[in-house]
Symmetry: C2
Subunit: 148 residues, 2 copies
């Protein structure tokens, strides 16, 4: 948990600033997100937060609420679904994602900014981009097939 000390307090303030309410569940979910060392699925987050009885919809709604405050980044998986991660509002980055275990490595280099510039020249507005690299991490290498 190598994160700024007042981070959580600042987040809570940001949330209370709007119409959102900070409930026990949201505190637990926020705490779990803060403690995570990697992006997680909604279901995994619910479990990590120690709220196994909570409905998943609550998790999704909470994530949506947090996303609105700008502290959640969504990382799409290759096939379906996505992972969620707590980030500072202006911390733009991408990831290497293991297709198998969903281990992710942060990728600080973003090469898409100039692409967005090109899009702008084409007349596009409200531009954003998606860039993730997928593969099998060290731990998920397929067992070497013998004679196939």
């Amino acid at each position: 948990m190598k994160r700024a000390k007042g981070f959580l307090q600042r987040i809570i303030q940001a949330i209370k600033r709007g119409p959102l309410r900070m409930t026990r569940k949201r505190e637990r979910l926020l705490g779990a997100l803060l403690a995570m060392d990697r992006p997680v699925s909604a279901a995994a987050l619910r479990d990590k937060a120690g709220l196994p009885e909570s409905d998943l919809v609550t998790v999704y709604r909470t994530l949506e609420a947090f996303e609105g405050v700008g502290i959640i980044q969504r990382i799409p998986l290759e096939e379906s679904g996505c992972l969620f991660e707590l980030t500072e509002p202006d911390d733009h980055h991408h990831h290497f994602v293991c297709r198998e275990c969903h281990r992710t490595e942060r990728l600080d280099l973003c090469l898409a900014i100039e692409l967005e510039e090109q899009a702008r020249k084409l007349g596009f507005t409200q531009i954003n981009h998606l860039m993730e690299v997928y593969g099998l991490c060290e731990d998920c290498q397929p067992a070497a097939a013998s004679g196939d």
Copy 2:
């Protein structure tokens, strides 16, 4: 339809080389893909091919078959679903995609190759990447809200 003349024939040969069969429906779907000037959804492709009575599963299965031959590129949309496009097997590129009308502009610059190199250094294998830029194209600009 600015595509090499023998392209279709080469594709048909490639397909017949394997266990795949070239049926009327597949010919029509292939023709529609060839005639498209932009990536399309499975449902739109079925309609463009003039096969409104065909089941969508046939379209998906055909696209899957063509993908296996390396002539289909899949372009993920921001929210859900994806578009399909006919490409030459080694024609790697990305897109600008309009969130609204799904108009796409080809983006020949691929910046992710060096990222894949980084992933390799991290021990990842079977690496690929996803990179698309989303926005609203010229034709889909929101009507300027007056006094809001």
